[in-house]
Amino acid sequence: MNVANDMSFFSLVSGASLPVQIVMIILLITSLFSWWYIFIKVFTIKNASKDAEQFEASFWSGGDLNKLYDGLSTGRRKSQGMASIFEAGFKEFVRHKQQGRMEVSDVMEGTRRAMRAAYNRELDNLDAHLPFLASVGSVSPYIGLFGTVWGIMNAFRGLSNVAQATLSQVAPGIAEALVATAIGLFAAIPAVIAYNRFASSVDRLSVRYESFMEEFTNILQRRI
């Protein structure tokens, strides 16, 4: 076995055995996806909270709700977040009102159901990709560990053919194998941090949406 003078990162990856290399590739792809989702979530959650703030500001500014609704429904972009909840609730309320001769409780019940449905859709969008990040965070260290164990097994198997075992015969194999664990941890740590952060952000947003729903329901009830 050649004494490994060259222990650069490239030689470590290229010198690893095939299963270890496959593990490395899987982990690299996983890491790329998890980072992609992390950035997507960063942007979407930031946008959602910004939109919620903007909508709350315009909603509580005391303007006409009909005007607000027209502005949203004629807008080019499909309304998101709090705006879409408002849109769904207000549309349902107006429809019931136009039909007339309906009980107040029925109107409010229908409006609430429409808003609840919109809220669930929004929450589903906010929660998107979080399960993926959670599984990357918990599984990729194990995948990396599998690659490492496999590589170390090979390194020690190679040692059995040698009469005088030295550290330099095992060291390259172990170093190659440990790269797999390093990549696994690199994929897992940001995923776990991001998951926890996004979960709390989504919770806060959902609480915000729910409280808006309650308040809007009260406002509509007063208008009947």
């Binding site: 060259d6 222990m7 690299l28 890491s31 980072w35 950035f39 997507i40 998101q80």
Partner: protein, 272 residues
């Protein structure tokens, strides 16, 4: 995979994800310079000898007790030179008396002869004594030179033990048996290191192999078993060890290397 509302940011996010990996990769390759963790290795080759080569063993003994060999060597050379001069001087002795006896049978002649004989005997004794003295002196000189030569050799060998190459070249100029013995011992030691001794049992069987070592240190053919140890697995183990021991250690000198072309190896796997 991607929700509708996310399609706006997906490209941006993808690029950022690649950027993060690129940064990390560059940091790993550059800042963690794993080559620097390996200082240039000084490879030193160490040959482990279980026993010292034949020549080096007796000589230290001679250093410690120099008078003994002198005492032993003195009686040995004496008888050898003595017989040579004696017959040369004895031959003239009988001739003159014969001539005397043939020419005259008188008492005068006998007396003269006796006188002559006495004189000659005296001369002869003196000559013998002189010769003996000379012989002794010569012997002493020879002893001294021999001692000096031996000490020189010893110094050479000690130097050789210290650093192989220069003195090895000097010594091998005349292919001395000491060099061959030394390297045969080295070869044996190397083979012994490769033998799986458990296959040869507890006893100490002796094997004989005919092997041919090329000047490059490689085997010229398969080793030929001349005398078996009586245990086939042991024979095979030793044969494998011989093949595994390539290249064999050889002296620098080409003439000395030629001596190893047909090497008759007596080998004991468990040591001498």
């Amino acid at each position: 995979m991607i929700r509708k509302h996310e399609s706006d940011v997906s490209w941006k996010a993808g690029l950022l994800a690649f950027a993060v990996h690129g940064v990390l990769f560059v940091a790993m390759v550059l800042s963690i310079n794993w080559k620097a963790a390996h200082p240039p290795m000084n490879i030193t080759e160490v040959e482990l000898w279980e026993q010292l080569p034949n020549k080096s063993v007796p000589k230290p003994v001679e250093i410690k007790e120099p008078p003994k060999p002198i005492v032993q060597e003195v009686p040995k050379p004496e008888p050898k030179p003595e017989p040579k001069p004696e017959p040369v001087q004895e031959k003239p002795e009988p001739q003159p008396p014969k001539v005397d006896i043939e020419l005259e049978q008188k008492k005068k002649a006998a007396e003269q002869k006796k006188l002559l004989e006495e004189k000659k005997e005296e001369k002869k004794k003196a000559e013998i004594e002189k010769l003996k003295k000379e012989m002794r002196e010569e012997e002493l000189r020879q002893e001294k030179t021999a001692e000096q030569a031996e000490q020189k050799k010893l110094k050479d060998l000690q130097a050789l033990m210290r650093d192989d190459k220069p003195s090895a070249a000097q010594q091998a100029s005349s292919v001395s048996p000491s060099v061959i013995g030394e390297y045969t011992e080295k070869i044996k030691a190397k083979i012994r290191g490769n033998v799986n001794k458990t296959l040869c049992g507890d006893g100490n069987p002796e094997l004989r192999f005919d092997i041919g070592v090329l000047p490059t240190g490689e085997l010229s053919g398969t080793p030929k078993l001349v005398k078996s140890s009586g245990n086939a697995t042991c024979d095979e183990a030793v044969e494998r060890a011989i093949i595994a021991s390539e290249p064999f250690p050889l002296p620098e000198d080409t003439a000395a290397k030629a001596q190893f072309r047909n090497l008759k190896l007596k080998f004991k796997p468990n040591g001498e």
